[in-house]
């Protein structure tokens, strides 16, 4: 970007453009550009990329990318996946089931999307691929009831982890928010707080609306983390910085494809490098 000492308006624009196009959002991008201008004035270093790398990395600092860091041994664990329509929840459920089964967990997949056409069939295929137990209710059944029965059944069968797939929902739909809130409430009755992860699934191609999604679902689903899908699209997913700054929600995994193994643990260094370099 800059190799001369005096930098003009045009150079700040290039930094701003990089940040905006990474979907960091106008407010956060402006904030970062202003901070860099201050830095340049006072320190004048030439390596903007190194500065930006450190800045973005610091925004993710303190975020724990692991799941179940403080889970109680010998007690059933649960992952609830929520998010808006089409982001990749059902696929992520299948990938997580496979991943945890390979870690030695006994996994149950619970189909709490009782609404969308072929949603339960879709999850069932993933359960077969992941070779784990699959629990569903009847078409149109109350998701809260399905979760209750599914967790009870998993406990009875000696499972160690349940993964709950929910229906896509728009956070502007009050009824659907209430439905999700109930699913989380039912789960909390049966699972220890230390053994529960409530994960927001976000599409890396989404823009600033993903922030509104996090904002609405954070209190409703008592979110503990994020899975960012479709990162193989080469979209930067910068919205997680904005969400992280506001809600301190850590990214746990990145979805990098449509196959069962296409889920990688979040690596802050790699993630930031992809944006900066």
């Amino acid at each position: 970007l800059w190799s001369k000492k005096e930098t003009g308006e045009k150079d700040w624009e290039e930094l701003e453009e990089l940040l905006i196009q990474a979907d960091m959002g106008p407010a956060l991008s402006l904030e970062i550009v202003e901070e860099f201008r201050e830095f340049k004035k006072s320190r004048g270093g030439d390596d903007w990329q190194e500065w930006l790398y450190q800045k973005l990395f610091s925004l993710l600092e303190g975020n724990d990318p692991s799941l179940f860091a403080s889970a109680k041994e010998g007690e059933l664990k649960a992952i609830i996946l929520s998010g808006v329509n089409g982001v990749g929840k059902t696929t992520a459920a299948g990938k997580l089931a496979y991943l945890f089964r390979n870690k030695g967990e006994k996994v149950s997949l619970i189909a709490a999307d009782t609404f969308r056409a072929a949603a339960m069939e879709q999850l069932e295929v993933w359960a077969q691929r992941a070779k784990c137990r699959y629990f569903r209710g009847t078409e149109g059944a109350d998701p809260g009831a399905v979760v209750f029965d599914g967790i009870s059944s998993a406990r009875h069968q000696g499972d160690t982890l349940v993964i709950i797939d929910t229906a896509g929902r728009s956070h502007v739909n009050k009824n659907l928010l209430a439905e999700l809130e109930k699913v989380v409430r039912v789960t909390k009755k049966l699972i220890l707080p230390s053994n529960l992860e409530s994960i927001l699934v976000i599409d890396a191609l989404a823009g600033q609306n993903a922030f509104l999604q996090a904002q609405s679902l954070f209190p409703v689903a008592d979110l503990s983390g994020i899975i960012l899908t479709k990162w193989d699209s080469q979209a930067k997913g910068g919205i997680v910085f904005r969400i992280g700054k506001e809600f301190h929600l850590p990214v746990k995994y990145l979805g990098v494809g449509e196959g069962i193994e296409d889920l990688v643990p979040f690596d802050a260094e790699e993630f930031v490098k992809t944006i900066v370099y």
Binding site: E17, I20, Q21, G86, E121, G207, S233
Partner: protein, 292 residues
């Protein structure tokens, strides 16, 4: 909302009397922030605000008694002009039965839109046939089959068909046999960077004639929208856009970026998960929505 933000700025400015160029720049800075927050692409937002600036430093705004409202009106007009271009009729001419193809990124709403379009056309006296060439996503065909069944639409599947070309040929034969006049083809989702999958679509449209090739686009799409459009344009040459999930609070700036770039007409919008939740595109409403 935008109007409240600007009223605050203009209240301050009005007390100064006439607007200076600096004042206009301050306003435009705010405008650009609003557009970016609506997911309008960086370059498109820049072009738009510089166009507004050209008009805003003219007499009409500078000497207006309500400069703020004038600037907002100018921006709205500029957006409306980009979005409002082409007529929005569905093109079902050409070979009989007409074929309409749904393409787009994973999860954008193609399968659901296929069902919605079936209902939309049936209500207008057509006899649609729904067919899926998606052999990748688990239960994809089942999903379309269930939607067709729910809406009492004809659905075709041949489990023996080994390529999308073959599936469509067989669907055409079936349509002719049953006197069905429009075939709605659902395809698997694919990224704008998945060249093998885009190649597959390119080969399909080289062999089969489609009177409409719709890019089905999620209204929440961010800055990547322009790259998505460029890629699908070079591989598939879409004839139009269907914007989905407009019932959410996604402002949909991606549609402005794409239309500014490609000139594609926005033919329909999805406004919910049910099969009757599809509407004609209203450029006026979309312009207001993008402006927050």
């Amino acid at each position: 909302a935008l109007t409240d933000k600007f009223n605050a700025i203009f209240k301050k400015l009005r007390s100064k009397g006439k607007l200076s160029e600096e004042d206009v720049d301050a306003i435009l800075k705010e405008l650009r922030m609003v557009l970016l927050e609506s997911d309008v692409h960086y370059r498109v937002a820049k072009d738009l605000t510089s166009r507004v600036r050209e008009r805003a430093v003219g007499k009409e705004v500078m000497e207006s008694v309500t400069p703020g409202e004038m600037v907002i009106k100018i921006l709205w007009e500029e957006i409306r002009q980009i979005l409002g271009g082409e007529a929005r009729e569905l093109n079902l001419s050409g070979s009989f039965p007409a074929s309409v193809m749904m393409v787009g990124l994973q999860g954008s709403g193609k399968t659901t839109t296929c069902g919605k379009l079936g209902v939309y056309l049936k209500e207008r006296g057509f006899f649609p046939l729904l067919v899926s060439t998606d052999t990748r996503r688990p239960a994809a065909k089942e999903q379309l089959r269930i939607l067709a069944q729910t809406a009492k639409l004809e659905f075709f599947d041949d489990p023996q068909a080994s390529t999308p070309q073959e599936m469509i040929k067989k669907a055409r034969d079936y349509a002719r046999e049953k006197s069905l006049d429009v075939i709605l083809v659902d395809t698997a989702g694919r990224l704008h960077v998945e060249e093998e999958l885009l190649e597959e679509l390119k080969e399909l449209i080289e062999e089969e004639e489609f009177s409409e090739r719709f890019l089905v686009l999620d209204a929440t799409t961010g800055q990547e929208a322009v790259k998505v459009a460029q890629s699908f344009e070079s591989w598939v040459h879409p004839t139009g856009l269907i914007l989905t999930k407009v019932d959410t609070d996604a402002r949909g700036g991606a549609v402005l970026s794409i239309v500014a770039q490609t000139g594609w007409p926005v033919k329909l919008v999805g406004v919910g998960e049910k099969l009757n939740q599809i509407e004609v595109f209203h450029p006026d409403r979309m312009a207001s929505r993008i402006m927050g």
